[in-house]
């Protein structure tokens, strides 16, 4: 049984998630706590960038070239979830953001693999991202008092951006409630093993439910875009 491919714009949020998180992880270059971890974060960023490019390439008839999609759209045109645009914070903050996102992205791509050619490859990549984030969450949560405090704080801060992940994206055939259930079970398991508490606060604000998917973003996103796009906008059509 083959289902028809999802209509083109439905894959835009997936591409924007990958591009924006890739950019955030790239910001660690030159700043990561150790060289080995810097390479690991850059590798994950490059995997995500590759996913974004593949997804954007499929939208070129509608939205133009990959460069135009990434560098010439305004803030409101981006459909990434707000979790991916959150600033890096400290290392624990980045790891928890990565854990929340890759625990969402991997089963999402797994569900989409019958209709999305990219997804099968992306599932393998994302499995590694998820493993990396889980391994670090266990070590940070169950590490020193300092690392535990920072990791718990990151989880509490980012929790409000997790509800949005399971807002249905129009045009994608996904079992969203099932995805949410799987996500909560997995996060609960990792947190239990890491000695962390699953945050009790709301997983979305009244202002944020599904907002990123509708083009409404948090304040740090404008700064991210300005930095990401300024070179391309300053030198239109530049080649190297």
């Amino acid at each position: 049984m083959t289902s028809p491919a999802p209509p083109a714009p439905a894959t835009l949020p997936l591409g924007d998630d990958a591009l924006i998180l890739s950019h955030r992880l790239g910001e660690w270059a030159g700043h990561a706590p150790v060289l080995e971890e810097e390479v690991a974060l850059a590798n994950i960023a490059l995997d995500l960038l590759g996913q974004a490019r593949a997804l954007y390439a499929g939208l070129s008839d509608l939205l133009g070239s990959e460069d135009e999609i990434a560098f010439l759209r305004e803030e409101r045109a981006f459909r990434n979830c707000q979790l991916t645009e959150q600033p890096n914070g400290d290392f624990a903050h980045t790891i928890v953001r990565q854990l929340f996102f890759s625990t969402y992205q991997q089963p999402l791509f797994a569900q989409l693999s019958p209709v999305l050619p990219l997804a099968a490859k992306a599932v393998r990549e994302t499995a590694y991202h998820r493993d990396h984030a889980e391994q670090w969450t266990l070590r940070l949560g169950d590490g020193t008092e300092e690392s535990h405090t920072r990791t718990q704080r990151a989880a509490d801060t980012l929790w409000r951006y997790t509800g949005e992940l399971f807002q249905p994206v129009e045009g994608l055939e996904v079992d969203w409630p099932g995805l949410a259930e799987e996500w909560h079970a997995s996060i609960g398991d990792v947190f239990a093993r890491a000695g962390l508490t699953v945050p009790a606060g709301p997983s979305e604000g009244a202002w944020s439910a599904g907002a990123g998917r509708q083009g409404l973003h948090t304040e740090p996103f404008g700064l991210l875009l300005a930095e990401m796009q300024h070179l391309h906008r300053s030198h239109p059509g530049a080649a190297w």
Binding site: P33, V34, L35, E36, E37, V39, A40, N43, Y128, D131, H132, Q135, R139
Partner: protein
């Protein structure tokens, strides 16, 4: 921070049938993280199918001062070298 992390030696098996070969070293907090770091640093371009990581502390190395007693006697005893028969064609990795 990395100064506190132990050093690990990384061995990569480039394909099935070959031995693991020393590829380099890295810092990591424990063996599982060392394996993951090794994957990122040494096998991202399909260089390998298997990885070993070994704590550098656990390796006992010969000393450069002992080079002569350790290695010199081999060359003047040709009967120790398997050079007196032909290697059949088609035998690889020998």
């Amino acid at each position: 921070m990395s100064a506190e992390w132990p050093l690990w030696e990384v061995f990569v098996r480039s394909r099935r049938g070959l031995s693991h070969t020393h590829a380099g070293s890295l810092h990591a907090p424990d063996a599982q993280m060392a394996l993951r770091n090794a994957r990122d640093l040494f096998t991202r371009r399909s260089e390998g199918v298997s990885l070993w990581v070994v704590p550098s502390d656990e390796i006992t190395a010969s000393s450069p001062d002992e080079k002569d007693p350790f290695f010199a006697p081999a060359a003047d005893k040709p009967y120790r070298h398997p050079t007196f028969y032909e290697v059949p064609e088609g035998v690889r990795n020998l």
